[in-house]
Symmetry: C2
Subunit: 151 residues, 2 copies
DNA sequence: CTAAAGCCTCACACCGACGTTAGAGTCAAG
DNA sequence: CTTGACTCTAACGTCGGTGTGAGGCTTTAG
């Protein structure tokens, strides 16, 4: 399969596909004349790349993760030391990811609250004494960020 | 509170705080000499901003969402038409956010699988006939991206 | 009064994740 | 052989989110 077809089938622009390759996330073969040729499995692979990137996962993780999906079978270093380091790195990333998900869920809850309030809006200019849903917001806020905002 | 103190208390650099203001996410008062002065509530607010930005939420949503948190009390347009549009926009964002969370959870599961496998690694160079955990990976992959990768 | 620390604006620079263009080669069909 | 669709590399542009100054004003401490 050439790059154009892969692009059509995945929705990723040709530019993006070449970019992913540049980043080591794809490794198409080449014809004699230099044309990239992709395997069927790359369709899947591209979908996963886009999914992870769109979620703002660090590029490194994407790469490392994907290396394990090359053909559904991981390539794990044989030396135990290196394997340990790999495991450590990945599980750090896992923890970061978990935090990020939690943060997103709180944002989602907050957004849901807001949508509900805009919809069933009790609000208007507001009788000054009326507490409204202020406490709900504050509650969500208290559950709050908390996450380390891992830089 | 001046910008330096807010920076210290939130972990956001001074530069970032000014940037957030530039983007309409913060609106500190000014002293006569032009110094920014922040309210206590801005500590919370900054935390939320960083949390949402770090999760790659579209900047617009952050802004709109935060406007509702100004003082724990939303500012909702009075004209029903505009209110409806706002509700529609926000709930679109809510849907997108939900999808993104789902995608992230799948990525997390996948990553967890991988970590587990690297840890308890049954793998090594691998007996060629051994299916290993390939099916696990494939299963996660099948549950897979699916998300529209909302550009 | 002076020095130091903190603040201000302006502005250039970087990285990631692309879009876009330019100029050239390749390939299948007429 | 020519045309047109497709591909290649290389390079520049853009946008968001930052870092890092430069040059100047304000405030505080000695």
């Amino acid at each position: 399969m050439q790059i154009g077809e892969l692009s059509a089938r995945t929705g990723a622009s040709v530019r993006m596909l070449r970019y992913y390759e540049e980043q080591g996330l794809l490794e198409p073969r080449r014809t004699e004349s230099g044309y990239r040729t992709y395997a069927e499995s790359d369709v899947d692979r591209v979908a996963r790349i886009r999914c992870m990137l769109s979620a703002a996962l660090p590029a490194g993780v994407v790469g490392k993760t994907l290396r394990f999906l090359l053909d559904g079978r991981p390539v794990i270093p044989e030396e135990p030391a290196e394997r340990a380091r790999l495991a450590a790195t990945l599980s750090d990333e896992l923890a970061a990811l978990t935090d990020k998900i939690a943060a997103l869920e709180r944002s989602r809850d907050l957004l849901a609250q807001i949508v509900a309030d805009v919809r069933g809006s009790v609000v208007g200019p507001g009788s000054p004494g009326d507490p409204g849903h202020a406490e709900d917001y504050r509650a969500v806020r208290k559950a709050g960020p908390a996450v380390g905002v891992a830089g």
